[in-house]
């Protein structure tokens, strides 16, 4: 089943290419690991849970035209689809052009490839990006564009972001990778005190708008405290930067290209659990999806669901469950840009439905759901039929073995929907 295969193949930590992955699950591992007859190969207690969501790809394109293609990068093991993707209502911002089957990390590579090809000042740097990155987002780029454009930095996040700010201020398109969003905090001062304020404090004489910071984000099934965090709320309190979280490969490429083009410093969080799990037909050429525009994925009349990143897929299932089991019609919104966020789309929806549920993995207190909730109650107070509900992570660090209990899964969201409908 696709979800369990995800768990076997997910590359969790920083040493994926040295041949030390696998453990019990690879054939190499089971040859080396001699189990006593008393042990079964996969005891009940050791079996890991399936993923807490099912990835919902962008709807299939509605028309095809064949066209000769010169795709920029080849992804091994996938075929080049010589088809033109004509956007349908959901993907109205995605341009027509040849597409290729890509997972999320490949769509990131494709965006970076387009950027390096089109912008001679563009450089990509961070820990381990030269060999392809611990999540394979930069595979092939150093060979293609040169070691002065795709390079490793020393292990120092404050240096990576500071370096990126300076490069951007001097006119280069700087794309910095932070290896895990959990490790972004040493760069907090550079991001909040420097990058965000560069333009304002200099009277617009200087800016670091050409800086984009990318980081893997969110729960992954086994990431625990330091490989699962969603730190967007720390940064939403900081005027001057933009924060973006995609839900899949098509969105990721378009939003990342928008972040890179945007003349403000942007932080682009990539849901790591979707790197391999999310596969879609993604245009090989460059395209942009506008920032600060939320997307209504599914229209409904009874309740508005808001999320971003992986949680969008959880709420999609919740919407289906609500329809099937409760006859409740949910409107599902992917926020996409967390800062500055699209208040208009969300408020318009709540005015229509009267009920709002916001869900994110990050801890509930001070999480971004609080900001959305506060603004919506200011703007739509008289339209509300029930208190705004937040289904989020608990106010604890992200636990290891207790992850299935921690995450705001579809059952918790479904229960919240029920309570709101019956309020």
């Amino acid at each position: 089943m696709a979800a369990t295969r995800l768990f076997l193949r997910a590359s969790p930590v920083k040493c994926s290419l040295t041949g030390l992955t696998g453990g019990v699950h690879s054939s190499l591992g089971s040859t080396l690991l001699k189990l006593s007859p008393a042990c079964t190969a996969k005891p009940q207690a050791q079996r890991r849970h399936a993923a807490h969501f099912t990835f919902h790809p962008e709807p299939a394109p509605s028309q095809y035209e064949s066209r000769a293609t010169n795709p920029p990068l080849t992804f091994t093991g996938t075929e080049i689809e010589e088809q033109v993707f004509i956007a349908d209502t959901h993907c109205m911002n995605v341009s027509a052009g040849p597409t290729q089957k890509m997972n999320l990390f490949q769509s990131v590579t494709s965006a970076l490839d387009n950027t390096l090809a089109g912008d001679p000042t563009a450089v990509i740097f961070g820990e381990d990006v030269a060999f392809g990155g611990v999540f394979r987002c930069t595979v092939g780029l150093r060979d293609k564009y040169g070691k002065d454009r795709v390079f490793n930095t020393p292990l120092c996040e404050q240096g990576i972001v500071g370096f990126g700010i300076g490069a951007a201020a001097a006119g280069a398109t700087a794309i910095a990778e932070i290896q895990f969003a959990d490790y972004i905090y040493p760069a907090f001062d550079q991001i909040v005190n420097e990058a965000a304020k560069y333009r304002y404090r200099s009277g617009n004489m200087f800016d670091c708008g050409k800086l984009t910071i990318r980081a893997p984000w969110g729960c992954v099934g086994h990431g625990s405290i330091y490989h699962s965090q969603c730190p967007e709320a720390f940064f939403t309190h900081c005027p001057g930067i933009k924060i973006v979280v995609p839900r899949g490969p098509v969105q990721a490429k378009g939003l990342l290209l928008s972040c890179i083009a945007d003349q403000n410093p942007c932080i682009f969080f990539e849901p790591k659990i979707l790197y391999r799990a999310a596969v879609e037909q993604v245009p090989t050429e460059a395209y942009q999806i506008p920032l600060s525009q939320a997307e209504v994925l599914q229209e409904g009349s009874d309740l508005t669901l808001v999320a971003w990143g992986t949680q969008v897929h959880v709420l999609k299932e919740v919407a289906a469950m609500a329809q099937e089991k409760l006859g409740v019609s949910c409107e599902l919104i992917d926020l996409r840009t967390i800062l500055p966020w699209d208040t208009e789309t969300v408020c318009k929806s709540v005015v229509k439905t009267g009920r709002l549920l916001i869900s994110h993995e990050a801890p509930v207190t001070g999480g971004f759901a609080a900001e959305i909730s506060s603004t919506v109650q200011e703007e739509c107070f008289l339209n509300l039929e029930a208190p705004i509900s937040r289904v989020c992570g608990y106010d604890t660090p992200f636990p290891h073995i207790f992850e299935p209990f921690y995450i705001p899964d579809k059952w918790k969201c479904f229960e919240a929907v029920k309570r709101m409908i019956n309020y």
Partner: protein
């Protein structure tokens, strides 16, 4: 008596970090190739050792390996002292094979003693009386240039006195003087090209002054009036000027060091023969960002000059509470940086060191660290009274016995380039220039409060526009409580 090149060469030979790099400084391309071949060996061994790899990973190794194989075949043999990475694995030899450092084995236990008693020597050209010590080190600058040095240093001094006073009188909110450090500013600024990008900390106003930043704009920033290029958003002395390539100052310390490294990298890729200069104090050098800046600039081979003003104090914290090693210069070799310590109160020493560092940074794409020893004669700022932590005698010594302005004046008077009459006339004129700019700044209105809301992003965004409109509505209703008359409409 040692010359500047001799000091640099000796340091190059002795510093263990330089030895580890083990390369002639112009051969950085070849160094890169041989590091790649070593990496190739490791990767191929890993690829052979693992029976089963997931598809994309194996392909990536193959891709990398094939390209690096071509490089390996083409590269020339390159042997340097103890530079391990150039040689393939050779476990028969009795030399350490560690990838992390190149060195010899040693069979007795011995700790390296940090050398703080006789550390890195201080390079100087003039003695404290302004006499040239080694004539071959005299840069022999033109009379016009030297007079300009002197006038810029004294003009800065005059502006400092007047603006410090204006804070005491409540006319501006805050000020920081540059007393005693004028030599570090002027000497280094004179050695740069106008297109070189400068990142400062907050005590480098002389660099801006040397480049031609007008008194009116210094005042405008301190008064935060409508002429301020920064649009009134920052505290006084947070200058910036795009036209003069001086990046706007920010209050957090040392944040500019890794930024300067990034800017230098971008400048290097442009092939524009520019250098980036990054000023900071010895206190800021304790910040983590300083470590990041040094390390990144060296590993990424940036044309950058780190210029440390070691003035003895970080507010009230003396250097013996700031560090225990041999100052900032001694840290440079640890990062692989060419490093030097100079007499910061000797404007020619500062000039020579910066000039040579600039020439080599651009030619060789490597960073340089200059530690300019000086003394902060003034208080840290108008919020500080330094008599609380140091003696008046100590301050007087530096003011009277070892001041960059008086040392240069002695040099000039010894050549009959300057005398009592010129001094009197210039004092009067510089004071007049400053006072006139001061009075103009006093009369100027503050910027329009609209500017509170702009430049957060490149374009106005709806939530901020909404807040701005709400503010104006509020001001309209409560206008008598807001000092609107002081601001432009």
């Amino acid at each position: 008596m040692t010359t500047l090149p001799e000091i640099l060469d000796r340091f190059n030979q002795n510093a263990s970090a330089a030895k580890f790099r083990g390369r002639a400084v112009w051969d950085f391309h070849r160094q890169e190739q041989t590091r790649d071949t070593h990496a190739l060996d490791v990767k191929m061994a890993a690829a052979r050792g693992v029976k089963k790899l997931y598809g994309i990973g194996l392909h990536a190794i193959r891709q990398n390996a094939s390209l690096k194989a071509t490089t390996f075949l083409q590269q020339r043999a390159f042997r340097v002292n103890g530079a391990l990475r150039q040689q393939p694995f050779d476990s028969s030899a009795e030399k350490p094979q560690f990838p992390g450092a190149s060195a010899e084995f040693i069979d007795h236990l011995e700790f390296i003693q940090p050398n703080v008693i006789s550390g890195i020597p201080v390079y100087r050209v003039m003695d404290r009386q302004g006499q040239i010590i080694n004539p071959s080190e005299d840069p022999k600058l033109s009379k016009e240039m030297v007079l300009n040095f002197y006038q810029k240093m004294t003009l800065l001094n005059t502006m400092d006195r007047i603006l410090y006073e204006s804070q005491r009188q409540g006319r501006i909110s805050f000020y920081m003087t540059n007393y005693g450090e004028e030599g570090t500013h002027i000497g280094s600024a004179a050695a740069l090209e106008p297109t070189d990008l400068v990142f400062g900390q907050y005590r480098e106003a002389g660099v801006l002054m040397y480049r031609g930043f007008p008194l009116d704009l210094f005042m405008a920033q301190c008064y935060a009036n409508a002429d301020d290029l920064g649009k009134g958003r920052q505290m006084p002395v947070h200058y910036g000027c795009k036209d003069l390539n001086f990046v706007t100052i920010s209050s957090p310390l040392a944040t500019q060091l890794p930024q300067a490294a990034g800017a230098a990298y971008a400048v290097k890729r442009e092939n524009s023969n520019r250098v980036v200069v990054c000023y900071f104090g010895e206190g800021a050098a304790s910040e983590g960002d300083a470590h990041a800046g040094f390390n990144f600039s060296a590993t990424l081979e940036c044309p950058l000059i780190f210029f440390c003003r070691n003035n003895g104090y970080a507010i009230s914290t003396p250097t013996n509470e700031q560090y225990r090693g041999d100052g900032i210069a001694a840290r440079g070799p640890g990062y692989g940086l060419m490093s030097i310590r100079v007499d910061g109160n000797d404007v020619f020493a500062v000039y020579n060191a910066t000039k040579e560092a600039r020439r080599r940074a651009v030619a060789e794409n490597q960073p340089f660290l200059i530690e300019a020893m000086t003394y902060r004669i003034g208080h840290h700022s108008t919020s500080d009274d330094s008599s609380a932590y140091r003696s008046v005698d100590e301050v007087n010594y530096w003011d009277k016995q070892d001041h960059p302005i008086s040392r240069l004046r002695h040099y000039m008077t010894a050549r009959d380039w300057w005398g009592e009459d010129e001094e009197k006339a210039w004092r009067k004129q510089s004071r007049k220039l400053v006072m006139e700019a001061f009075e103009r700044a006093e009369r100027r209105l503050k910027p329009n409060p609209e500017l509170l809301f702009t430049d957060v992003y490149d374009e106005m965004i709806p939530p901020i526009a909404k807040q701005r409109d709400a503010m104006w509505r509020h001001i309209q209703q409560y206008k008598e409580h807001y000092p609107l008359d002081l601001y432009e409409k």
